[in-house]
Symmetry: C2
Subunit: 160 residues, 2 copies
């Protein structure tokens, strides 16, 4: 099972947009999720910390929500970046997305002490808007599924 | 604006179920969300830490998802506890819920350095299943809305 993403889209986010607690490579206290291609799908692998419990032995829902959220924006960025002729690691800054909506179904308690794998499928619904459907596995167990609608970050973001 | 919940349902969760990173009073590293009644509605107030950024100045979506999630299970617990004749602080253990599904719409970037307030409305859809509709405000700004379907934690939870 994939335990690490070599070329992550988050490595190519502009510095100013790399402070997200979920996926910012410059946020030292955050999860630093890394999202990359796996064929035509996308993948983020993450091992929760011991404190990320719901009840002892199981992962809390907020971590899964954060994983699905950032995996969604990262996947949308991967898709638009590829459409523009680029892949992570080629030195070109990647587009940054924000989440418009997030839906999650928790199908099974998620065991702790296992690397989680989010696997995403991307659909373009508008040149600046992508829908990412994600399944989260703990080893081979399917634990949650989610849908993110991600839109290109407006220029005004942060200036309101 | 309410900045603190005096009688929180999380104070009455059994110790074994009080380790949630979002709302467990015994999780020293977690958010320790506290959810209580405000008339017929429920409220959770929380001030994000400086590292909980999306981009600098704004709160990341995963924190909002975690807040809406735990506010939802806490609200469902408040409702069932009241239906059983109890309120937080009366010394009776409260029922613990888990999240079946979570839906969030992010309506506006959520400013940092402000206490967030989640306000919930509860609907019983089955004796063991509640739907909680939540709005999140930063000061008076509406930033997100969410729906949680929460179910009474099965006896088997954690024993699988």
């Amino acid at each position: 099972m994939l335990e690490e993403v070599k070329h992550a889209i988050q490595d190519d986010y502009p510095d100013d947009f790399s402070h997200c607690y979920g996926c910012g490579r410059l946020n030292k206290k955050g999860h630093q999720f890394r999202t990359g291609w796996d064929g035509e799908q996308t993948v983020t692998a993450y091992k929760p910390a011991p404190e990320h419990t719901a009840i002892p032995g199981f992962v809390y829902g907020g971590l899964l929500a954060s994983l699905i959220d950032c995996h969604g924006t990262g996947s949308a960025s991967l898709a638009l970046h590829r459409k523009n002729g680029h892949d992570p690691g080629d030195g070109i800054e990647a587009p940054r997305f924000v989440t418009a909506s997030l839906e999650i179904k928790f199908t099974k308690p998620t065991p702790q002490d296992v690397t989680l794998k989010a696997v995403g499928t991307i659909e373009e619904i508008h040149p600046k808007k992508f829908k990412v459907t994600t399944d989260v596995y703990a080893a081979d167990e399917h634990c949650a599924s989610g849908t993110v609608t991600a839109v290109v970050m407006p220029d005004s973001f942060g200036k309101q």
